[in-house]
């Protein structure tokens, strides 16, 4: 790691102000940024730690929705949402290991948009709204391919708002080494509308599997997806699995998620 200055603002205004400089970067849980800096692959001059900003903390329940502060850790979400949104709680409770879950945050994960991370599937499949210091961005407009989001320079996520679904589940097949998703599918049903979001599989990052959504909107059962899988073209191929294998896994994980959600 190169030398770096860490600032710890207490308010959102102070944080936004500190982020005004070109050479500064927000630091949430640090589960991606710190290892990258230790390898000297990133070298921000100033880190603006968000963990002490009170506006970003906490989880609140509204009418038919839950708003999760950007600095809520995965462990916090897993614990707090166990009853109110078990699918999202289970997703959060299976990210990384306990150390990661007690440091990593929902805001950090979504802003990073790792193509194999779990939260992007939860946010996109769960039809979340990403709230920033400046605006509200629907998940459908937030994710822009691997490690790319709609966030602008100096803009930070302050909270994520999830409407409560009638049924939802997340099924993930682990990459054997990292235990990131080789294919992870988040399925949520809101009345007649079904959303299916896939992470880990595509070279374009998280995406909605529309054919599956259509099949499920009339018949919310695993059988509705029998024999279905997305096109292998555009899927990631690496030493952990070919594009064909990933496409196949998406079908399997989608059926498993639906089976749980519909069960």
């Amino acid at each position: 790691m190169y030398e770096v200055i860490i600032t710890r603002p207490r308010t959102l205004a102070e944080a936004i102000d500190l982020l005004g400089s070109d050479e500064s970067q927000p630091l949430a849980g640090g589960q991606t940024l710190i290892p990258t800096m230790k390898q000297r692959l990133a070298a921000p001059e100033t880190l603006v730690s968000l963990s002490g900003v009170k506006e970003l903390a906490g989880i609140t329940r509204g009418d038919g929705e839950i708003t999760i502060g950007a600095t809520a850790t995965h462990a916090e979400v897993a614990r707090e949402l166990a009853d109110s949104y078990p699918a999202l709680a289970a997703l959060a409770g299976n990210i990384g290991d306990p150390a990661v879950r007690n440091r990593g945050t929902i805001g950090g994960s979504l802003a990073n948009n790792d193509p194999a991370a779990d939260y992007p599937a939860g946010a996109l499949g769960g039809n979340a709204t990403i709230i920033t210091n400046d605006r509200e961005i629907p998940a459908d407009q937030f994710f822009g391919g691997m490690f790319t989001t709609a966030l602008l320079e100096g803009e930070i996520i302050t909270a994520v708002k999830f409407p409560l679904p009638d049924a939802a589940a997340y099924a993930k097949f682990d990459q054997p080494a990292s235990r990131f998703a080789l294919a992870g599918v988040f399925v949520a049903r809101f009345g007649d509308v079904v959303r299916v979001a896939v992470t880990g599989a595509s070279e374009e990052g998280v995406f909605r599997w529309e054919a599956a959504e259509q099949a499920l909107s009339g018949d919310f059962s695993a059988a509705a997806l029998d024999g279905m899988k997305p096109d292998a073209v555009g899927m990631i191929g690496d030493l952990h699995g070919s594009p064909e294998y990933r496409a196949h896994l998406v079908g399997v994980m989608a059926r498993r998620a639906v089976a749980v959600a519909a069960g």
Partner: protein
Amino acid sequence: MPADGGIGASTRRREDVRFLTGQGRYTDDINIHNQAHVFFLRSDMAHGRINGIDISAAEKMPGVLKVFTAADFAEVGGIPCGWQVTDRFGEPMQEPKHPVLAEGFVRHVGEPIAAVVADTLQQARDAAEAIEVDIEALPAVVDMAAALEDGAQKVHEDLKSNLCYDWGFVEENRDAVDEAIRKAPHVTTLELVNQRLVANPVEPRVAIGVHDRADDEYTLYTTSQNPHVIRLLMGAFVLGIPEHKLRVVSPDVGGGFGTKIFHYQEEAFCTFAAKVVNRPVKWRASRSEAFMSDAQGRDHVTKIELALDEEGHFLAIRTSTLANMGAYLSTFAPSVPTWLHGTLMAGNYRTPLIYVNVRAVFTNTVPVDAYRGAGRPEATFQLERVIDKAARELGIDPVEIRRRNFITEFPYETPVALTYDTGDYHATMDKLMELADRDGFEARAAESKKRGRLRGFGVNCYIEACGIAPSNLVGQLGARAGLYESATVRVNATGSVTVMTGSHSHGQGHETAFPQVIASMIGIDPSQVEIVHGDTARVPMGMGTYGSRSLAVGGSAMVRAAEKVIDKARKIAAHLLEASAEDIELKEGRFTVKGTDKSVAWGDVTLAAYVPHNYPLEDLEPGLEETAFYDPANFTYPAGAYACEVEVDPETGKVTVERFAAVDDFGTIVNPMIVDGQVHGGLGQGIGQALLEGCVYDDEGQLLTASYMDYAMPRADDLPFYSVDHSCATPCTHNPLGVKGCGEAGCIGSPPTIVNAVVDALQRAGHDVTHIDMPLTPSRVWAAMQG
């Protein structure tokens, strides 16, 4: 369990108190006043010609003491290889120079090109970024078969080719084996890969070099399994430091698995640089450096043919293997695919004719050397896989075909040069069938099927040769070292005992097990015995710990020294008791005149040895301290039979290990709990190889699995509960304790067990799959099922 904590007691490991409470003393815990730090600039290219290195900017960076390149090492030797293999034609292997810092070329990703020594590690690292290296890329040699083609790019320009050696064993049997295979009623052929692995001890390598100008003496603190071997290799062959001026210390070491046997450039560098900069120089590998600089393991590509008669009796075995050496020869690399592999090809079976061919190949990859099991897992894997395939082809039960070929009479001379002293393979298999509950398998398979899972049963036998010996034989085989072990047993005046052993513990529990032996021999409490190891200034010249040799060889040396001590103490006791030494027996810590109640306590005798007032000074020197060097007459031959049941998820290809039973014959067991732990650890590593681990380079020689993001280590939830049994013991006939060694068995026997079980599961479900190469990842198993 003996109440006295002696041989056979599952005594809790005394060293664990310090390990588990953060009191361990590892090399990185050592910080020497005024030490400087080194950062190695390593090649990010697999193969290239160094046209120039500009260190001028780096030298001016803050805190920099000196920037080293190959030019600074012009007067010192290369890193030596400790084993010379002679090829089929009687010629010595090709042996390239292995420089401390890259000389003219880089030959693998991670090879050190330059080294910056600075006040702080941060400064050294900053300065390393200011070094400008002009490297012209050369084609990388990665694939072994391609490396041996005519006109292939050479890894070493000054060698004839990329072939290190072409070894045949037993060469005289070659024609007879060919003929037997030609004439055999049935030949089963299997081509397979034993993939490359990274050892991954928890503690990365560390080295601290110290030079004392006052006496011109050097000390190297290093994470080694064998400090005397490092002292000899580095002192005599690399730096030219006489041994009496060089001390090597290996304190607590956090796991070795073979990769800490070898002498590495970083050790030589720190020792050398300490004198040049006149400061202690410290280096600690990052995990990334460990991935690209610790010697790696396995990496064999093999074709094996097994000839059988109609009843499934083995007639002949022929194997052809390409063994990857990497870019340079690591310390014992040439011995692994030859003498630690070819000699094991008989397994537990009567096969009259065997021929093993191994071609060792240089590639632009990290050097490969011994990794837990070293050659024996490779031999066992191919043999037990081809037997399983043959059984299926001939319609013979896999357990039955093994039983039909078991060696039953001992000693047994194999056609590949070994003489097994003891064993009872049928008894071991009987016990395994009971422990694994094979009779209950079908019911469990039916239950799995209800849950949509495919269940398979795999069985496997193994034999290994531990405690490589005797030294005069291994010398003929090419070893450039002796393979004895040493011990000094120092009895203190009040009767407590300090044992200085040449064995080295890096997780094996010597500090607990060795005192149990002494306690049993003398009849004192084990707490009265202390083990000293890992310091060339404190222990006699020893060969260290690897190849499951500590108790079999090091323990034997300790027993021999203790016998000498007891013999002398008996004479002192005879004097004190005014009896003849022949009439004195040592029991429960007292010397007694046989048939009388006249006795003297151990402590009184030891006190007399050091306060010799009433003492036979005319016949006996005072003091009670003896040293023994033990050179075994033969290898020891632990053997066992393993069985497992796996479930395959047919939708994803994911394999889970549901049951695992291991029956091992380790001979006499000193501490059953430690042995259980060694077996558990070995099984974990073997299951890791079978299902998860694999070191992969791309065509450019870039290491794709350079971190735990891509190199899959087994985690607790990847492993089943094990059923282990050691009751079928046939003690070794030629060492004083009857012990055989248990450190590697688990990782030798488990990979073929798992693969056999997965193939069984798939075949039972109607898939025409006869083999899948390890690791059996979900994607590979799924692909195999697609046909």
